[in-house]
Subunit: 201 residues, 2 copies
């Protein structure tokens, strides 16, 4: 059975960076936005639209269309995307050991693969710095704290809508780490050690 | 500055065992019920009473006396115990590197020592087994799930009453681990590694 490291994370907590560095260290693939490519391919929907319909979105429009806009089966386009996302993640996990960033892979794979579910977080101060100066997704003039809180709220709502997981609650994850406290390198090292122990490698 | 590893934990999650083994491995002291001794010594109150007034309690009577029973300054005996507990933990942290189990040491020391705050949890199934067959605190005939949930609720309420920490929420801890998933030994190893990195030892 393949071991999959599923990383959930607060916005701008370096979870993505940790995931990629971890995969490099372990010599296994890391799936991130590449999952969007695959969903786009399968549904014929535009990547931007899929992004807007998922946890990556910065708008709240998705939640309205997730509630409204149901077809005669009571399904929305969001539900369909969730379904394809589910299939895509299952396929990836079936192939080989890997790291998957976001997209509720921990929940989707809980019955299938030998999953190590991870939650990465950091202080708001750390994350504001990263969002402005590293990601360059928020400008210095904006209310960074408000934007960061909004994005986390969004991820939490998305998880709540499609899973039974309480986003950010320790008991739903195998390991949670403060990337600001320990730094990216040590987080990668710890996760690699947990992977090796679990996967017997 | 001393490094203190402050361990919070779900009931029967092996957090105490992990703390003691970690301290042994690192050659530093571990304070657990010994804190109760010290509080008892300072206040002249019976250990059993202090236990009942804190997170260790299994009854709910403390919360009524914490709300009612205020003296002319609006303080309760629980507030006084909290104050002595606070002083005791500060003193211990001031002496040398150590592990402290429970008693909200993470919160109390947040401004003082170089704290590594830890939250240990495990699945209910794991904890039921431990509570019945290892701790022998719950009998086979009892509703173990209900008792376990009640005890966690109690710890959460105690934390909420005296701190701003949301008990069990990942972002309030530096590291959270599922002791059932990884086992005690690996949890101890991971925490030792984090300690050595932080303390530069």
């Amino acid at each position: 059975m393949n071991t999959v490291i599923a990383i959930s994370r607060q916005y701008a907590s370096a979870g993505r960076t940790i995931g990629h560095q971890l995969a490099d260290k372990l010599g296994i693939p890391c799936y991130d936005s590449s999952i969007l490519d695959k969903i786009s391919e399968k549904t014929g929907l535009d990547q931007k639209y899929i992004k807007e319909s998922g946890e990556y979105s910065t708008s709240t429009s998705w939640i309205f269309s997730a509630i409204a806009g149901r077809d005669y089966n009571g399904r929305t386009l969001q539900d369909d995307i969730w379904q394809v996302q589910r299939e895509t993640i299952m396929e990836l996990a079936g192939k080989e050991d890997c790291v998957i960033i976001g997209r509720n892979a921990d929940y989707l794979l809980k019955d299938m693969a030998q999953v190590i579910s991870v939650f990465i977080h950091a202080s708001e101060e750390e994350r504001i710095q990263r969002a402005i100066y590293e990601y360059r997704e928020i400008s210095e003039s904006e209310d960074a704290r408000r934007i960061i809180r909004q994005r986390d709220k969004r991820r939490k709502a998305y998880t709540q809508m499609y899973t039974e997981i309480q986003w950010g609650e320790a008991r739903y994850y195998d390991v949670c780490l403060d990337s600001g406290k320990f730094g990216v390198e040590l987080c990668v090292e710890i996760l690699a050690q947990l992977y090796r122990s679990r996967a017997g490698k």
